[in-house]
Point group: none
Chain length 290, copies 2
């Protein structure tokens, strides 16, 4: 991270009292609070969600605070695309076999397929951009249903059933709230056309795992590729581990080394801007909470 600051033209000082900016890689602590003297005009935080820093009173309007919003979305969207293509192209089954049997691999394609993306925060929006050149149509499902840039159709969650009926692939990239817990359950899964694929890069709690297994066994789902599960970690012996239509990645959409690399790039960019006196990326607004 020292290199990342230097690459942006910043100078790392040993005495915090002489610093004009703090780049904080840990959690919100009293130690951080003690470092925030009047000469500190910029505080860079390491996470995309900042609710804990706001509630700790560390974002009080007396200096510019920036988050990592926007730096991790591309990683997770890329993983979502990897899981979509793996499910459509039957890569889990291919990885598990030890004999050449093309007739058993009946892959399908994203071209002219309909992808419903539930949640269109930074992950969903990045994914929509990635799906464009693959020739897929996209339906973005968000709480309020406001038009999402790049999506062919934008719907509010109260029209989820409509999106599910149209989808060849459903991607979950929503936060967990009381309204989205078990969003995919026996009732909603029943809206899917037989042969649909489900990808989850949001939170395991978005899916009722028992209902998911039933949908895989009935053929309603042609595949499920999950980076998050309920329960998580998925216990040894769970039927999803060996289900021929399922692929599990153990919450590795944004692995630690990629997360730190993405943060380093953001540090370089924001240091450049800070040195040049330009507006920083991802300034936190304590009023709206991100």
């Amino acid at each position: 991270m020292v290199d990342a600051v230097a690459a942006g033209g910043g100078k790392v000082v040993e005495d915090p009292g002489a610093a004009e900016a703090i780049i904080w890689l840990g959690r919100p602590t009293e130690e951080l609070r003690s470092l925030l003297h009047g000469g500190i005009s910029w505080l860079q935080l390491p996470s995309a969600g900042v609710e804990n820093w706001i509630s700790a009173g560390l974002v009080d309007g007396s200096r510019t605070v920036t988050s990592a919003v926007g730096s991790y979305g591309p990683q997770v969207a890329e993983h979502a695309l990897a899981l979509i293509l793996a499910s459509l192209r039957r890569l889990a089954a291919c990885a598990r076999t030890t004999t050449w049997a093309p007739a058993t691999v009946r892959g399908s394609s994203l071209r002219d397929a309909c992808v419903a993306i539930v949640g269109a925060g930074e992950i969903g929006r990045e994914l929509i951009a990635m799906l464009g050149p693959l020739g897929a149509r996209t339906i973005a499902v968000t709480r309020r249903g406001l038009p999402v840039p790049g999506a062919d159709v934008s719907l509010s969650t109260d029209r989820l059933a409509e999106a599910l009926r149209a989808a060849d692939v459903v991607v979950l990239a929503a936060p967990v709230t009381p309204a989205t817990t078990h969003l995919m359950n026996a009732t909603t899964l029943a809206h899917l056309r037989p042969g649909t694929h489900l990808v989850n890069v949001g939170r395991g709690e978005l899916v009722d795992t028992e209902a998911l297994l039933a949908a895989l066994n009935s053929g309603q789902l042609a595949g499920a590729a999950l980076d998050v599960t309920e329960p998580e970690p998925l216990p040894d012996g769970h039927p999803l581990w060996t289900h021929p239509l399922a692929l599990i990645t153990p919450h590795t959409a944004n692995p630690e080394h990629l997360r730190l690399a993405a943060l380093a790039r953001r540090l370089t960019e924001n240091t450049k801007r800070f040195v040049a006196g330009e507006p920083l990326v991802a300034v936190v607004d304590p009023e709206i909470g991100y």
Copy 2:
């Protein structure tokens, strides 16, 4: 296929002796040779790679021969992207495991990665377009090194070593010719930086399989994802089937049902052009081998 020809304004005749053109959906056989009388001015082949037809002496310059080059590109490019992401994100290892162990999954990302694409026909060009929103840089390596639309850098094959040294991912999408047989061998694989991934959606003969295995075992290659192999079919018991860094798909980049739909569209287009006396799509040049 009869419908596809009719849609292009062609007339299907029962007596091959009366035909002016042959649309051949099978393999290169003596039966095909026996049908090629002097009145046949056009032969449409069903595949994109034509090395077997050339070596069988069926492309001799005495008539126009067209291949299916260009009709399968989007499908195969999509499969190449699936294999790239599967290799980077370690999906084969994930598919084979039955326990939650995120620390063992050290995935990497296409963002800011360099992808060298050997062969920039339709597959390569489609893939370059797909890689754009993923933030990858691309080097297109072609026989003559002419600028390839969308590629960051275009090099001729005599500068292959340069491309290999720069690459995080190497994708083979070239035809097999005497010049490209075993293009990836012990010497060329040695140019790769340790940790590079190799994807082959071209032909198995582009890669010396023994050298590939050695590069996987030495760590020069971090992963190999192959839709085509040498030998093909890959025999039972071959070490690539169970290599932890390898993923094999059994020549399913362009599965039968998708292939036939694309071929039908090409037949209609070329029949239209043949009837109108216009230049056909994908005329084979026996001198260069595709």
